[in-house]
């Protein structure tokens, strides 16, 4: 999963990496010793990365969150869990491929993992509906959560969606009702619930699997009521103001934590999880284990009370 796609704002880094590669080639030919230059270039690359990634705009973070080489839900499951048994279907209509889930073990502990799943090529994207669940997806997720509750197994949800699917069938089968039901049911689940935004957290489509005791965001992800593009089109009546919209929405992990709307940030490798996925896997696994340590000892009623209180405090009003 090497990075084969760079953004415009990473140009300085890419140029330096090209230089480094050429210098290494020349060095290998052995006519002149270029090892000093290689060291200098490597230092320059590190500095350029630090400079670029420390001043990312909201929109640039949105772009990183959508990078095609970012780990998706099934990648995380493969690398942080063992014994994963995928479970399918909502028992009513069909199996929604935009949401996957099943029992597994993380660090030897039983968990239920559920997440939105995107695709990497055209065929996969269609199969996964671009990570946009239909009502069946939310109902499958709820079915699996209830199953986890029955067997007293903690729930991990991985959020990565551009939104719930808009369409004739989604409306016919009650997209609104499906999401609403999950919000209500998740708030009173008796087992620990840990929700992690691993990519895009767009709107009710994200929140539909996002009511947890711990809601965490990976460092380069976003979470808001609407995507910057749609926000631009509605408030500015043009698709061109997405950068402005991304700033205005304060959708980054740091903004969301600062506003008290999420509980923590999971660090990613510099520039994003796709630069070294194994670091991202290790960090998310550690965050899950830490959260499980914190939550599993609690009395279920106390945990539910705290969960509801947390969401009840969100909002700013003037009286």
């Amino acid at each position: 999963m090497a990075n084969n796609h760079w953004f415009d704002f990473e140009k300085e880094i890419v140029d330096l990496m090209d230089q480094l590669e050429k210098t290494k080639e020349s060095n290998a030919k052995g006519k002149v010793d270029l090892s000093d230059m290689i060291v200098t270039l490597e230092e320059k690359i590190q500095l350029a990365k630090e400079a670029t990634y420390s001043k990312l705009t909201g929109w640039q973070k949105v772009q990183i969150s959508r990078h095609q080489n970012r780990p998706y839900t099934l990648d995380y499951i493969e690398h942080i869990a063992t014994n994963f048994i995928e479970l399918h279907g909502d028992r009513q209509v069909k199996d929604d491929k935009a949401i996957v889930g099943g029992f597994a073990e993380i660090g030897g502990r039983p968990v239920m993992i559920i997440g939105q799943q995107k695709g990497r090529n055209t065929k996969e994207r269609q199969l996964r509906n671009f990570g946009m669940p239909n009502p069946e997806g939310y109902r499958k997720a709820l079915r699996l959560m209830k199953l986890a509750e029955k067997f007293n197994v903690p729930i991990i949800t991985l959020i990565d969606t551009p939104g719930a699917s808009p369409g004739l069938e989604a409306e016919e089968r009650g997209q609104g009702e499906a999401i609403a039901r999950n919000l209500m049911e998740m708030s009173v689940l008796k087992v620990p619930v840990i929700c992690i935004v691993i990519g895009e957290g767009a709107s009710g489509g994200a929140l539909g699997i996002g009511i947890g005791d711990k809601v965490l965001m990976m460092q380069y992800t976003w979470y808001s009521v609407i995507s910057p593009e749609s926000c631009s089109s509605i408030l500015w009546r043009t698709w061109e103001k997405k950068e402005l919209a991304a700033e205005a929405l304060k959708l980054s992990a740091t903004d969301m934590l600062g506003n008290g709307l999420v509980d923590g940030i999971i660090p990613e490798p510099l520039g994003g999880a796709h630069h070294s996925p194994e670091v991202a896997y290790e960090n998310i696994k550690q965050a899950i284990l830490d959260s499980l340590d914190e939550l599993t000892g609690m009395d279920p009623d106390e945990r539910i009370g705290k969960r509801i209180d947390k969401f009840s405090r969100m909002g700013v009003v003037v009286e």
């Binding site: 939104g163 369409g167 997209q175 609104g176 609407i226 929405l249 969401f311």
Partner: protein
Amino acid sequence: MNFEFEDEDELNGGEGSKWYKRTWSGIFTKTEEKKATPDGLWEKCKRCKEVAPTKDWISNRYVCPSCSYHEKIGSAEYFDILFDGGEYTEINASMSSGDPLNFTDTAPYVDRIVVAQKKTGLKDALRTAHGNINGIPLMVACMDFNFIGGSMGSVVGEKIARAIDYCLETKTPFLMISKSGGARMMEAAFSLMQMAKTSAKLALLNKAGVPYISLMTNPTTGGVTASYAMLGDFNIAEPEALIGFAGPRVIRETIGKDLPKGFQSSEFLVEHGFLDFIVTRKELKNKLSQLLSIIWKK
């Protein structure tokens, strides 16, 4: 992609909205004024275009005397229609919106709030009040579409949460009247979390065994549909209301063709199993008290 907060003009029925604002503002905002409505004023129905005396519209609960078209009305009118003797106690009446994100699009959010407050005489897009309907105590939360498209921000969520707290403390049934374009974008994730907050509170009400009736009126879309509006023990709607998650324009753009006639209407939702029944505005009060008298004997 996101579908919150459909275009306000579209929700108002396009051209009709101008007529609405010109003709009806002032008549629908304050109940006291209706007593002073002079004879000789006439109103034209937005749908059938029939003309009828204003006083007939008002005595008919703002429903067209010719074709039963349900005109949009606000919290003042619903409170007046529902509560015995028009008497009720409003709670958290002075609560208004903060600007947690210091949000500006083409105008600052704080300015939009001030303009909306002046235009409507309201503090925000929802009011909560308790009183009796045919002798049965009821808490009512009612949205006002005139206030920034009935959009749901922190005030809407917080007022609903506190109304539910009141219902939990006093074991009072709860009626939610929705009329909204969805979440308020200018409060971004704060708006989104109102969906979580209200749904969590409704879970508590559900556990306590206190009845919750959700009445959806034209239009009910976006994050409102995907939270409290769809969570009633009884989900009911006025006739021919637009009810959906994604707005019709977004769906049309996504599928690239026109939507079937009647798609996302109250009647469509009953057929697909998401509403218990449709109730006309005229029958509303008696139907609610009839239902509550069966399930909620003291």
